[in-house]
């Protein structure tokens, strides 16, 4: 099935056009600077043909229209007719408690998405705009919503509840949701395949370390805990997000500095994390460079980052009552052997032994990096969220076809 995957942000749309049987990405690209001067469309076809166009794109609908146009283009395109697009898969950040898996989009689902805006005011409105735009432009094509939060809907209540008055959970849905679901799902399933064991028998800890960072405890294929919570701020240290924090500390800071809600929010999301600690950079590559040159706060940021990963590995091994594999993915997880090594220091008691040679071996493919005596597998798996969205979209559409035929 040929499926168009759309990931709509505030001023950008990323897309991939995937053939799910062969898993070939026929074309991919992005539209950036929507609603600003000099919008850019970057498009790349599977045969390597690349094109970059500049112009004005006033809103998401025009953005999607351009994406369709370039897919249909004689010179750069991959299809001859719009109807060759058999389905559209939309990445949606927040599905709340209502969406526990991917869904075929209809008006009832759209109402549900509207209700989730309150939970993700920065992301969901743009996702909805993208869906509306594609519905207008491809009225006969089925659409599927795939949620960042859905994979974590299996968290038990004792893992997702905060120690707050219960009425707040009932009234505003204040609980832990977790994010990066498609990534955690994909790499945990790949880990089971690589371990050559049925997924329902393995305990896997997945570490998605990229721009945003989160870990998940995946027991028998189900997420039972994850580090991000009500928002993506909780948990690990990130580029510019603080991660775990005593909530009373932020209240104290707001009082001392006279900060408004939006200032405090920007501080936690944009001025904290590795950037906040080091004062140097939010980019792990630069943090490592500076730390190696002896910059004390860059070193501290690195240490805090890796310590948190290590701490959660211990916690999640305990949560699952066992551990078969640790997976690293995301930009940092896939490309920073220093982070993987430092995160696993001292975990021999858990049966985790890294092979230093394999760890530092640079590659773009899936690879095991543990010592042959390690009881726990340590695996690097490049993530592929778009493929997960495409496969899920394919599944939902095929089920629907079966049901109606």
């Amino acid at each position: 099935m040929k499926i168009l995957i759309l990931n709509c942000g505030s001023s950008s749309i990323k897309y991939q056009f995937i053939e799910t049987e062969t898993r070939i990405v026929l074309a991919k690209g992005s539209v950036e600077r929507i609603g600003m001067k000099g919008a850019i469309l970057n498009h790349q076809r599977h045969d390597g043909d690349k094109v970059k166009l500049v112009g004005e794109i006033v809103d998401h609908q025009v953005g999607v229209e351009y994406i369709l146009s370039i897919l249909l283009s004689e010179n750069h395109g991959v299809i001859k007719d719009r109807l060759e697009i058999e389905a559209v898969g939309h990445r949606v950040v927040h599905g709340g408690e209502r969406f526990t898996g991917s869904v075929l989009i209809n008006e009832e689902v759209m109402d549900g998405l509207q209700e989730c805006i309150e939970l993700a005011p920065l992301h969901n409105p743009h996702n909805i705009k993208g869906i509306r735009a594609s519905q207008r432009l491809l009225p006969s094509v089925p659409m599927v919503g795939v949620f960042d939060t859905a994979f974590h809907h299996t968290l038990p209540d004792y893992a997702f509840n905060y120690g707050l008055p219960y009425v707040l959970y009932k009234r505003y849905g204040i609980r832990r949701y977790g994010f990066h679901g498609s990534s955690h799902l994909y790499v945990s399933q790949r880990a089971a395949v690589l371990l050559e064991k049925p997924i329902d028998t393995v305990n896997v800890i997945t570490c998605h370390l990229g721009n945003g960072c989160s870990m998940a405890a995946v027991k028998g294929g189900k997420s039972v805990d994850t580090t991000m919570g009500f928002t993506p701020v909780e948990g690990l240290l990130m580029g510019t997000r603080c991660g775990d924090l005593d909530p009373a500390a932020i209240l104290h800071i707001m009082g001392q500095e006279g900060l408004s809600l939006s200032e405090a929010n920007a501080m936690l999301n944009k001025h904290s994390g590795m950037y906040g600690i080091s004062g140097v950079s939010s980019d792990m590559r630069e943090i490592i460079q500076e730390a190696e040159k002896g910059h004390p706060r860059a070193k501290l940021a690195f240490d805090v980052f890796c310590y948190r990963v290590r701490k959660y590995i211990g916690a999640y091994a305990a949560a699952m009552g066992g551990l078969d594999a640790i997976v690293f993915t995301g930009g940092i997880g896939e490309n920073a052997p220093q982070v993987r090594a430092a995160s696993l220091i001292g975990l021999e008691f858990l049966g985790v032994v890294l092979d230093p040679g394999l760890n530092t071996w640079s590659s773009q493919s899936e690879r095991a990096i543990h010592d042959q005596n390690s009881k726990v597998a340590v695996i690097v798996i490049p993530t592929n969220e778009e493929l997960v969205i495409a496969i899920d979209t394919d599944r939902i559409i095929s089920e629907k076809k079966k049901a109606t035929s």
Partner: protein, 324 residues
């Protein structure tokens, strides 16, 4: 690269019979992508920054290069202050400044769909500027005047586009105050009103519809309160600090009325009160004699470091209750 390169793929599709882009509905209300700000003092800087922050390209027009430089420096300084408060980042600053350009030539405004005037509240000045812009700008361009007390109708009369002239009353500091009064002049069209209300929402403001009347809502209500606080001080009922503390704690105000007056500038307060008094004729709008006295003494508030309170170089109150 050609600015409209994207249209090539649409044209190509048209040739191959793939269907045209849905033409934009001429009646639908869309975002403004380019605006002009004429007169870039404190308010103009705030408006320009706010617009750029939401992705709008802003052209600043000032009377000379020196003022233009000062305006741009003022915006940068404001963003730096916000960075020091963790509200923004260096990359936010880069993005905001990249969408702001300056000019001293009115004719650069010609092709822009929206012009916002933020000159000092002086009727003759505003009329002169709008009359000039009226001849230069595209007839469809909407003119916004940012005024707290002047008549939008009267300002609009200086142009041949009265249906497309409207008032927007921003409050200082623009980027932090989330309300804006959208002021209809007598001849402002409904469509202009709806477009500018949409523009206010685009700026992340909550718009309040206001029909032209002296002082609108915010100024009309806050000024008599400030004036009354000055009478209370003058009549020896309480100290400046006492008055402000009472109102702050009693009614959950962020600033007391006297500190608020200092921030607005006492000369401005005086002009606004006189305007209300003149227009509405009611004694309750008579400027307090203490205000007059302080303006004559040149104690204009925060901007002169001295008003009802004294201020240090960072604009913080140093010694309280000094207005005798």
């Amino acid at each position: 690269m050609e600015p409209n390169e994207l249209s090539s793929i649409i044209n190509e599709k048209l040739r191959s019979g793939g269907g045209a882009l849905n033409p934009p509905d001429s009646e639908s209300i869309t975002d403004f992508l380019r605006i002009v700000v004429v007169g870039v003092g404190t308010m103009g800087q705030g408006i320009a920054q706010n617009a750029s922050q939401v992705g709008i390209d802003v052209l600043l027009i000032e009377k000379n290069q020196e003022s233009l430089k000062a305006s741009i420096a003022g915006i940068e300084e404001n963003i730096n202050h916000e960075i020091s408060r963790w509200a923004k980042t260096e990359s936010d600053k880069k993005a905001i400044m990249s969408r702001i350009v300056g000019s001293v030539d009115f004719s650069d405004a010609a092709d822009k769909p929206l012009v916002i005037e933020a000159l000092p509240d002086n009727l003759e000045l505003k009329k002169t500027v709008f009359s000039r812009l009226d001849k230069i700008c595209n007839p469809d361009t909407v003119f916004i005047t940012n005024t707290s007390t002047l008549s939008v109708t009267e300002i609009a009369a200086a142009t041949d586009r009265e249906r497309r002239v409207i008032g927007l009353h921003f409050l200082n500091p623009v980027t932090k105050t989330s309300v804006v009064e959208v002021v209809r002049g007598l001849k402002t069209s409904n469509r202009t009103f709806e477009r500018i209300r949409h523009f206010a929402v685009q700026l992340n403001k909550t718009p309040i519809e206001v029909f032209e009347y002296p002082g609108y809502v915010t100024t009309r209500i806050i000024l008599p309160m400030i004036n009354e606080a000055m009478y209370v001080l003058m009549e020896g009922v309480a100290s400046a600090e006492g008055i402000d503390t009472a109102l702050k704690l009693g009614y959950n105000m962020e600033l007391g009325p006297l500190a608020l007056a200092d921030q607005m500038g006492l000369d401005e307060v005086m002009i606004w009160m006189e305007s209300l008094f003149r227009e509405l004729g009611d004694l309750k709008y008579r400027p307090c004699p203490l205000l007059r006295k302080m303006v004559r003494a040149g104690h204009l508030g925060k901007k002169t470091d001295r008003g009802f309170f004294n201020y240090d170089e960072n604009g913080r109150i140093i010694r309280k209750g000094v207005a005798e």
